[in-house]
Amino acid sequence: MELGVVVATDVHKRYKQVSALAGINLVVERGEIFGVLGPNGAGKTTLIKALVGSSRPNSGSVRVLGLDPRGAPAAVRRQIGYMPQAPALYEDLSPRHNLRFFGRAHGVETLEKRIDDTLDLIGLRARENDAVYGFSGGMKQRLSLACALLHEPKVLFLDEPTAGVDPKLREVFWQHFRDLASRGVTLLVSTHQMDEALLCHRLAILRAGRVLVSETPAELLRRGQSRVRVWRGEQFEETTMLDYRDQLPRLLQRSGLDPAVRRIEVEHDSLDTIVLSLINASEQESVRRRDGDTRRADVSHP
C-alpha cells in the first residue's frame, strides 16, 4: 500500500529544450492542504497538469489515490477536482449552464440541488442566469472553483485559485478549503501569496522544476534569521540569531538585569524573505555549477 494521496516520484517534463520539471518528488497526505510556491516558470502549473493527467511526464511516476492519472484516467478523474489558472469557463453561458455541464460529466445525483448549494456558497445565486462574459475576474474565479467542487472530489488541485480575488473573498475561499481539509479532502494549491502559504499544512518551494524544500510553514520560518536589538538609552546592540527562541534567553542571561536596557526588539525574517533567500541560494548554486562545468569543458578541450 503506497503512502500519500498524491505522490510524485522523480517526475521530469521537457518542452523541446526547456526542462519544466526536473525530478520532482513530493508526497501529499490525506486531509492536507499542500501549498506549492515558486516564481513564474518554476513548474507549478506543469506539476499540477502532470498530477491531473493533462500533461504526460517524460519520466518518473505520478500516483493520485494510488492510481496513475494517465493509466487509469476515468478512475482518477471521478475523484479529483481541478481548477486551472485561467477560469476556463464557457463565457457565453450562465453559471448554472457551466455548473450543469461539468456536473453532468460526473453523473452527480440531485444535480440541480448541488448547483443551488454551490451557487449559494460562491454568492452567485442572483446572477445564475447571466452570461459569464460580463462577470468580474473574481466572479469568474468563484465560478471556476465551484465547477471544481461540484462533484465533491476527494482531491482538489487548485492552480492559483485566488488570483484576482479580493481579500474578503480570499478569506471565504480559505475558510472553505480548511473545512474541506477537516472533512478529509486533500488539497494541492499553487499560490504566489505568502499569507496564503502560511495557511497551508505543508509547503513545497519550487524553482526550475525542482522542489527546493518541502516543510511545514513553521519549519520554513525557523530557517529565517532574527535580528535582536537591545536598546540602552539611545544606543542599541544588534545580534543576529538563527533561532531566537533558543538563543534569546542566553542573550538576556548575558545582559543580566541591566537597568539600562529599556527596550528589546526582535525582527524575524518573513516567509517572503526566507523563500526568496532559498530561491536565490539555489540560483547561485546553479550558476556556480554551470561555471564549473564550463571551466572543466575548457580544460578538456584546450
Binding site: 493527467g53 493533462s54 500533461s55 481541478y82 463565457e91 457565453d92 453561458l93 455541464f101
Partner: protein, 257 residues
C-alpha cells in the same frame, strides 16, 4: 451485460451533455447563428446571378447549381467547425472537459450532433433556395435524395473541420488549413471539370476530397429518372468517408501535452 448497458448509458449521457452545451452556445450566439444560416443563402443568390450571366440557348448552367450549392454548404460548415476545438483549447475548457472525465469520442460526437442540427436546417434552406431560384423541377423523391446527400456532406464537413482544428494550437494556425482543404475541392472534386479528364495522380488525390463523393452522387441524381438507390456504392463511400474522418478527428484530439 448490465455493466455494458450502464457504461453505454454514461457515454450517451455525456455525449448528450456536450451536444446540449454546444447547442446552448449556438442558440445564445444569435449573430453566429444568423450568419451561418444567412451566409450560404446569400452566396447561393450570387451563384444564381453568376450562372444567369452564363446562360444562353446553347449553355444550360442549371446542372451546376446543385453541386455548387453543395460545395457552398461544405465550405461554410467546414470553416465554422474548423475553429471550434481550437477555441476550446485556447480557453483551456478542453483540458477542463478531459479532467472532468469527458472522453475524446464523447466530445467529438457531441460536437457533431450539435452542429448536425445546424446543418439540417442549413441544408434544408439551401435546397429550398436552389429549388426556388433555379426552378429545378425535380420530383420530390429526387429533391429528398439531394437533401440527404447535401446533409451527409454537411455532417462530413463538420467532422473534417473538427479534425483539422485538432492540428492547430491556436486560431491563427487554423486559417492556413482552410484553403488547403477547400481549394483542391474546387479543382479536383469534379464540380467544374470531370475527374476523368485530370491526370491519373490527381484522380487519386480527388478520392480524399469529400465533395468528390457528394458530387458523383449529385451528378447522378440530377439526371432524369435517377434515384439514390442507383448508386448505393457512392452513398456508402460518402458515409464511410465520414466515419473515417470522425475516427481520425477522435484519434487526433490531444488529451495531454
Amino acid at each position: 451485460m448490465a455493466i455494458h448497458v450502464a457504461q453505454m448509458s454514461v457515454i450517451l449521457n455525456r455525449t448528450g451533455a456536450v451536444a446540449r452545451r454546444v447547442l446552448q452556445q449556438l442558440v445564445r450566439d444569435r449573430r453566429f447563428l444568423a450568419l451561418s444560416i444567412a451566409a450560404p443563402l446569400l452566396v447561393i443568390y450570387l451563384l444564381k446571378v453568376f450562372l444567369g450571366t452564363m446562360e444562353s440557348p446553347f449553355v444550360d448552367a442549371t446542372p451546376y447549381a446543385v453541386p455548387i450549392g453543395a460545395f457552398i454548404v461544405h465550405f461554410i460548415t467546414y470553416v465554422l467547425c474548423a475553429i471550434v476545438l481550437v477555441r476550446e483549447r485556447s480557453a483551456q475548457t478542453l483540458q477542463r472537459m478531459f479532467v472532468n472525465g469527458y472522453r475524446r469520442s464523447e466530445i467529438i460526437s457531441g460536437y457533431v450532433l450539435a452542429y448536425s442540427a445546424l446543418a439540417t436546417l442549413q441544408s434544408l434552406l439551401v435546397l429550398w433556395e436552389l429549388n426556388a431560384l433555379f426552378a429545378l423541377s425535380y420530383p420530390v423523391r429526387t429533391l429528398l435524395s439531394i437533401y440527404i446527400v447535401i446533409w451527409l456532406l454537411a455532417v462530413v464537413s463538420i467532422s473534417l473541420g473538427i479534425c483539422v482544428s485538432n492540428f492547430a494550437r491556436n486560431e491563427g494556425q487554423v486559417f492556413p488549413l482552410i484553403p488547403l482543404v477547400i481549394l483542391p475541392s474546387v479543382f479536383l472534386s469534379g464540380v467544374i471539370i470531370p475527374v476523368g479528364q485530370l491526370p491519373t495522380w490527381a484522380q487519386w488525390l480527388s478520392r480524399v476530397i469529400p465533395l468528390y463523393y457528394a458530387n458523383n452522387l449529385l451528378q447522378g441524381l440530377v439526371r432524369p429518372g435517377a434515384a439514390l438507390s442507383d448508386d448505393v456504392r457512392g452513398l456508402a463511400s460518402l458515409v464511410v468517408y465520414g466515419i473515417v474522418v470522425l475516427a481520425l478527428a477522435t484519434l487526433t484530439l490531444r488529451e495531454a501535452d
